[in-house]
């Protein structure tokens, strides 16, 4: 009897050891930018988002395919078009051991909506009339207008992540300290150097995260980051320069690529001559060879995009569907002539030196020169660029906009006549009408129709030019397993990653 028990014991230990070898590992991930402050409801910096998404969580989350999945809310229903009811998970603890309840959700959203607090998420919830908690694990959002669809996505964003009421009320500076419910907690922050996270042992999803620790090492220069990976100073790195991929042979490295939602654009001030003439704007579209841009600037690591990213199969009209997207310098010249500029014209584009925007500017400059348009590219410092953008002090600009899987989020603020980020002096009543209808419609088919019409209208009117969406590239050593990149640039799948040593 004892012998078989002993044998069973040995077997158990042996098997758990095998499975145990699957979990674990200390992953060092090299990134380009570091976070700026740890308060999730305030964070605007890309570096902050990439850090905080592991430490804090929202009511909802995304899976690898960008589907909405449960987060801190294990389920939700929409009993009426203007009501969302979230059923919260029970037995969730914040990192300091405080139990998570509806109180924290109420407190977080009150904080977000507080005008004295200046949260960038506030603008998402302006149509929320009330938030109540009938019991400690249920939260009800009541809306002024039925716009559930675009709202849902926001619950999965870092800016809407839930903070601990007790912690914030105790006066702790949330910019310097963290207390979240996420798979990782903050262990050490060496400014400018690295941010060390460690596994949250009490994470509510059993078995996750798989890593023991996750350290983001900040290495701003591309050549240094890729050398750090090649040197195994880090096990994984974000790669910005597509050509470097050639230096990571497939036998020794694993490459990850994902087509992302953000898109590069040539923004146009529709009130500035000669761009107040739609023919001129359309001529630009024909005169720019987007495929060549992807080839020359991104070495193929990008996707030409229409108003919606082509990966959104349900909604997007593909670039091929639009004649304006075909490269046709002859047609461009004809349109220019019709608009009264037979000998072309000159204009200025302001941009900044990130995301290869300066290279895109150079490439477009050369392309436009072929149809007689002289483009001057002003590569300004980022702060100066933002100031000019904000004051609409430009003829055109080149920049990167965030994209979304939800058409309302993609279009509303940018194209509505009084939209928050409408810096194009673009006012079109038909577009406004479609935007309102699309926001409030409930039936999926109806919405698809509306947004298809909107896309067609946007390409015809051409308030600005969508260029392409760049791919995100990551490279890792072969022992890194289980990572899946996401099109919204999120790294949350690191919770399912492990080191196979």
């Amino acid at each position: 009897m004892k012998k078989s028990l002993l044998f069973l014991l040995v077997l158990t230990v042996f098997f758990s050891f095998c499975f145990g070898a699957r979990a674990g590992g200390d992953l060092k991930f090299a990134v380009q930018v570091e976070p700026a402050g740890f308060d999730p409801n305030l964070a605007t910096a890309f570096g902050s988002h990439r850090l905080l998404e592991h430490v804090y969580e929202g009511l909802l989350s995304f899976n690898e395919n960008m589907d909405i999945v449960p987060g801190l809310a294990e389920s939700f229903e929409v009993p009426e078009p203007t009501k969302i009811v979230f059923h919260l998970r029970k037995n969730v603890l914040f990192h300091d051991g405080t139990p998570f309840t509806a109180e924290d959700v109420l407190y977080t959203f009150k904080r977000i909506q507080d005008p004295a607090f200046a949260s960038p998420a506030a603008s998402y919830y302006t149509e929320v009339s009330s938030i109540t908690a009938p019991d400690p694990y249920t939260v009800v959002f009541t809306l002024k207008v039925p716009m559930v669809n675009s709202l849902l996505l926001n619950f999965a964003g870092v800016n809407s992540a839930i903070v601990c009421k007790k912690t914030v009320e105790s006066g702790v500076n949330m910019q310097l300290q963290t207390n979240g419910t996420g798979p990782f907690k903050l262990k050490e922050y060496a400014a400018g150097n690295y941010i060390a996270l460690q596994k949250n042992e009490r994470y509510y999803v059993p078995g996750l995260p798989l890593l023991d620790s996750l350290t983001f090492v900040v290495i701003p220069e591309e050549i240094s980051r890729s050398s750090a990976l090649r040197n195994a100073d880090v096990q994984m790195a974000q790669i910005m320069e597509p050509l470097s991929l050639n230096t990571f042979p497939a036998q020794r490295f694993v490459t990850y690529r994902v087509s992302t939602l953000p898109y590069l654009l040539l923004g146009i001030n529709n009130a500035a001559k000669p761009f107040d003439n739609v023919l001129v704007r359309r001529a630009l579209s024909y005169a720019i060879n987007r495929e060549e841009l992807v080839e020359m600037v991104a070495f193929g690591e990008g996707t030409v995009t229409g108003p919606l990213n082509p990966s959104l199969k349900t909604w997007a009209l593909l670039p091929e569907a639009f004649d304006e997207y075909s490269y046709n310098p002859e047609k461009a010249k004809a349109l220019l002539k019709e608009a009264g500029y037979p000998n072309g014209f000159s204009f200025e584009a302001v941009t900044y030196a990130q995301y290869s925007l300066d290279k895109i500017g150079e490439a477009i400059q050369a392309q436009l020169a072929l149809v007689g348009i002289q483009m001057k590219v002003d590569v300004a410092e980022f702060g100066i660029f933002v100031k000019r953008w904000r004051e609409i002090d430009f003829q055109t600009f080149l920049s990167l906009n965030g994209g979304s899987t939800e058409p309302d989020i993609q279009f509303y603020r940018t194209f509505k006549s009084d939209g928050a980020t409408n810096k194009f002096n673009f006012k079109n009543a038909k577009v406004d009408e479609l935007l309102e209808k699309g926001r409030q419609a409930l039936d999926l088919e109806e919405r698809v129709e509306i947004y298809r019409a909107l896309q067609r209208l946007l390409v015809e009117e051409n308030p600005f030019l969508f260029l392409y969406s760049p791919n995100n590239l990551y490279v890792s050593l072969p022992e890194v397993k289980g990572f899946v990149p996401m099109s919204n640039q999120s790294l949350i799948m690191l919770k399912k990653t492990w080191l196979d040593k």
Partner: protein, 317 residues
């Protein structure tokens, strides 16, 4: 005598620093784009009410002279303010990053002197012979390639050839001395190379000057060996321009290691300044400029004192 001199110099440094910090503050505020613009970028939106609240919260709504005044007032109590971006205390941030830049600058200067002075002297002594040419060309290579280019090449070469050599992942001297030195070796060499060339040329030139002096020729005619002549008579005077250059360089180093710190991912003051200028993090900018300003001024005072020690004939008054 020296004491009064030092006191006088330190005293006169105060208005210098004040003017410096004021002009920097002014310049940064005149450049378009403030902290809030950059924080929001082009993808975030705040209502006018939220915006005005934010400006008030950071004290950015006051006229900039008032803002400068408040900063000065806080200085008296050694309060250097808090970073707009991260909320950390500026003094803590600077103290954190100072040792990194100091170590880097120190080792760079060390390499430059160790290589530059002997090479420069040799070159002068063996003038126009083969040794001179070789040394000069070598020195010029150090001068002519951009530091970030040399740095990039070294990074790629070292990481490719020596898999076990840790280049990235800075640790402080106290934490792990060996690793700290290992990580700093390549960047300080890179910086030092460029400086070595400048030091070498200055040393060569001033050595030549001195060697052709009458008293040196006399000593040589008397039969004193060349090296003895150099050591006893020539060296001291030849070193004056070299010291000036070294002092200048160290001052610049403390403020100018930005590219190297960026490239080698070292968390130093240079990178801090670059970041804070890019983000218009005013308290941090002021803090770093103040600190480097004081440092440079002190370095210059030190150099001037060294002058007198070397050549007592120099009248400092």
């Amino acid at each position: 005598m020296i004491a009064t001199y030092i006191f006088g110099r330190v005293l006169s440094a105060v208005p210098t620093i004040l003017i410096l910090t004021f002009i920097v503050f002014l310049a940064i505020h005149l450049v378009p784009g403030d902290y809030i613009d950059i924080m929001l970028g082009t993808q975030n939106y705040l209502t006018d009410e939220q915006l005005s609240g934010l400006y008030k919260q950071y004290g950015l709504d006051k006229p900039f002279v008032v803002q400068y005044g408040i900063w000065l007032k806080n200085l008296i109590t050694f309060d250097f303010g808090t970073s707009l971006r991260t909320g950390q205390k500026v003094s803590a941030m600077i103290l954190e990053k100072l040792p990194v830049t100091f170590e880097l600058a120190f080792f760079a200067l060390f390499f430059s002197l160790v290589f530059g002075i002997p090479l420069g002297i040799t070159s002068a002594v063996k003038r126009n012979r083969f040794g001179d040419y070789v040394v000069r060309v070598l020195g010029l290579i150090g001068l002519s390639a951009p530091t970030f280019w040399i740095g990039a090449i070294l990074i790629v070469a070292v990481s490719g050839l020596f898999q076990d050599y840790t280049l990235f992942g800075f640790v402080s001297f106290q934490k792990d001395m060996a690793k700290n030195l290992q990580i700093l070796l390549i960047p300080s060499l890179t910086l030092g190379l460029m400086l070595a060339a400048q030091i070498m040329r200055m040393a060569r030139s001033s050595m030549l000057d001195v060697l052709s002096q009458e008293y040196v020729k006399v000593a040589k005619a008397k039969g004193v060996s060349t090296w003895k002549v150099i050591y006893r008579h020539a060296l001291k005077n030849a070193m004056i321009p070299v010291i000036t250059t070294a002092g200048i360089q160290f001052g610049y180093l403390m403020g100018g290691t930005i590219l190297i710190e960026n490239m080698f991912a070292l968390p130093g003051l240079g990178r801090l300044l670059l970041q804070s200028v890019n983000q218009r993090d005013y308290p941090v900018i002021q803090g770093v400029v103040l600190f480097t300003g004081v440092f440079i001024v002190l370095m210059n005072i030190l150099v001037d004192i060294l002058y007198t020690l070397i050549d007592p004939r120099i009248d400092l008054r």
